[in-house]
Amino acid sequence: MQASAATAVRDFRDDARARLLRFDPLMLVATIGLIASSIYVVGNATQDDIPGDPNYFLYRQAAYAGIGFLLMLLMMRFDYSRLREWKLGIYGFLIASILLVYVVGVSARGSKRAISLPFLSFQPSELGKVLLVVSLAAFMTDRVRRLNDRETTSRLVLLAVIPAMLVLGQPDLGSGLVYLAILGSILFIAGTPWTHFAALGALAAAAIVIVLIAAPAVGVEVLKPYQKDRLTAFLSPGENQGKEAYQINQSLTAIGSGGKTGRGDEATQTKLDFLPEHHTDFVFSVVGEEFGFVGAALVLSLFALLIWRALRTLTIAKNFYGALVAGGITAMLMFQVFVNVGMTIGIMPITGIPLPLVSYGGSSVITTLIAIGLLQSIHAQARETAAVKRL
């Protein structure tokens, strides 16, 4: 086994070109389609946002996509299994970069999430999503023989909860939830016993009760009031007149008024700024208003395609680690898509989670493209291995 693997690895080095050709074309189509929609929609929605510079967001998003695309290509050629060896370094970097935000972070709208770099303000919590996937998958792989061990599960939980709590303190509720989703999927795909999940579920329920009800009752506020408002506003947008309900109502109005084929340039919810955060968190509402059901369905179909290919990559991965990474990335994408889109159509709370690839923002776009590059790498190596086996 060891020998064949060594051969395979050597093979890849000899023929990187061939490996590149073994990528998943459907996944690439979905990726390019989403990136293209993003540049078009973000560009269109922000024409009037910065007076005198109508294409500010368009150019920046295009640049981020370009950088991300290059990184994705790079990842496609990269042997992802090497990441398993670097797990400690990666995990250390993840924690360190999040902590760094507390020290040198720049504030935006009341939260410190980003570090200011020359070209973009870098959000460690975004990159952290993919870093957490590769490190968590590695820790899991190490203990694959002791899956039934409670210690395995609790270690994993601890490893994920630490960064989740750290980003929650920034405060970045959305990323924290994504981290937990990643943890859940890696445990799930690895084969953690149902009893452990049941225990974790009970623990989570207890945590929610404590955070939302018990702790405030004794005067300890774990979540900031606005976070609690966001989480509960979607339950009754009509009654609640706060900012959160306002956002949900404007988003529903935008999407609903789009109708079947959209309002195009008549999209007043977007153009007149009624829709908040129309290039970031609520970008899907812009799609819904400007392009209607048809446009929204198209974007969702691209996501469905992407998620299908990600799941497929999971099933063909040449090794356990690859399967876990693919599983983690799938969960990361799925969770963000459903929570973000669900938020815009009023069936999920507002959590500040971006729509992968489509929402404006360098950190998110680049992180997602890196993750997709990893998926492609897993896919390519799986097919390579299969090809070698067939020989």
């Binding site: 086994m1 060891q2 064949s4 693997a5 299994s81 398993r84 792989t141 694959v144 023989r145 999927s185 799930f188 795909i189 084969g191 404007q250 529903l252 109005t253 935008a254 999407i255 609903g256 008024s257 789009g258 109708g259 079947k260 309002r263 007043t268 919810q269 007149l272 700024d273 009624f274 819904g288 209607g292 059901f293 929204a296 369905a297 969702l300 469905a304 998620i307 299908w308 799941l311 999971l314 099933t315 991965a317 040449k318 090794n319 356990f320 680690y321 399967a323 599983g327 799938t330 969960a331 799925m334 459903f338 889109v341 669900g342 159509i345 009023g346 069936i347 291995t385 086996k389």
Partner: protein
Amino acid sequence: MYLDNERRPTLTPQLAFRVAVVGGVALVMFAIIFFRLWYLQVLSGDSYVAAAKDNRVRSIKVQAPRGEIVDRHGVPLVENRHSFSIKLTPDKLPRSSADRHELYRRLGKLLGLKPARLQRRVERELKALPYSKPTVKQDVGPNYLAYILERQDEFPGVEPESEFLRLYPHRLIGAHLFGQVGEVSPDELKDPRYNGVSMGDRVGQAGLEAEYDRYLRGRNGAARVEVDALGKLTKTLNRVQPEQGEQLRLSLDLNIQRVAQQALAGGTGRGAFAVMNVQNGEVLALGSQPSFDPNIFSKPISQKKLDALSSEDLGKPLFDRAIQGGYPTGSTFKLITATAALESGLITPSTPLNDPGFLEVGDQKFENAGGVAHGTLSLVPALTVSSDVFFYQLGRDMNEKGMPLQLWAHRLGIGRKTGIDLPAEEAGRLPTPHWRDTWFKKHLTDRPWSVGDNVNLSVGQGDLLANPLQMAVAYATIANGGRVLRPRLGMRIEDATGRALQQLDAPTARRVKISAETRNAILEGLHGAASAPGGTSTPVFEGFPIPIAGKTGTAEHVGKPDQSWYVALAPYPNPRYVVAVTDEAGGFGADTAAPMTRRILAALFDVKENGLVQGGGAPD
């Protein structure tokens, strides 16, 4: 080394199942999202389109200018002035109190107002009228306007509003008639009289503005504009032009009003007058002294200034003595006593009565003014020389069943409202046995009715309270042979160019039966009083080309100077106008009120006078 890693994981049933679970979750989620989108966009899209339109389209009220008020010759008395006021839109104000505080601070600095007071006032107004737009400052200059409009980010919820304010070009002249315009109150909104008026509209709150509000108010226009989320105007969609209110033409004659006010101002400074057509009730002049400049009310006025306008020291300028004043009228009341005595059959015009200079009724002794004795005389000379004793006897004799003096005074309009088209009229008081006895029972007065009360009333003294307009109506009734007119100021409704839209019909007059004999005897007596030798006002009207019938009156007040009265009918013997004048501290009727009346009559009949007439003549 990485043993597990090197194993190509066969798709174990467990993994296959778990992947299927994940795929299933994805499928379910996508299905939910698709159905939700279908519901939102395809099934209920239309209502959301309407909501989006609602969001961006605002209807802005464009205030209609009120109709102007002009005098009988079309001279504007009340006009409009365009101005801008700064208002707050409550739902656009900052939510946090710190931000609001900051906004008030900035506004206060800009407008020169104390922020705390500004905030208090706004909050008080909002509490009283929850959905109104409180006014921060009225009538601001264009530079403030531009400053705020250019800095909407710094002044959220602060909006200038175009407004028309009333302008009174003649200032003190006619000030009491017009009333004010103010924002409609919640109670008024419920009144059907204010149909079509909405919150924040300005309506007439007093005087003619209130009486003729439905003609004057006009129809507000509206502009439908598109705004962005910050409320900034992006474009105007359409506009409905406001329609100015209709013009009200009064029977008032500005020239006569001015002359009368000037004449009054030349007296002791507190008095009133009424000038009316005796045939149709048209009021040509109606005023009260001291007057005020109504322009001060087109801006918010400080309580201190308002108090000053109602203060006794300054003579209560806001008080309209012509229709709200209540005075004993002195001898001018003798016209009513004479009418009652003649019509009740107590006397005939030729019945002689002796005037020895005094009359004793019980233990009371009533004397003529100045103590003179006129001897035996009939009604006409008694009116001419204003014999008190003659009328004392009539008053004494009419203190009997049926109380003919009170009956006739009531018929001629004493103690009741004249029905003029002004809202704040007072009825005054006609003393009757019933009234005094009731008061006595309630311990409001020290004694019940006695014959002396009727003796006092016969010469317009005692508990009588009447105003110049009531006296004008009573005199007009004798002059026109029995029609008790309802005085009116509003003549017709016109469009802005003066074209008549609607004639305001003269209200039907109440009729009383007065014989021609009675009328002629009384007019003759009054004519004598102004022209015959010994007439109380003969010296005052010496050389006046228009023959008049006029009666002096001197009302006595305990501890205060006498009040001067004069009521004239002109021209004699077929009068067209009645002029009633009183000066609260003018002394004898001939001293002040009569010369004032002469000035007014001169203006009415366009008589050129050389210099001012001096008062003087016999006491009455």
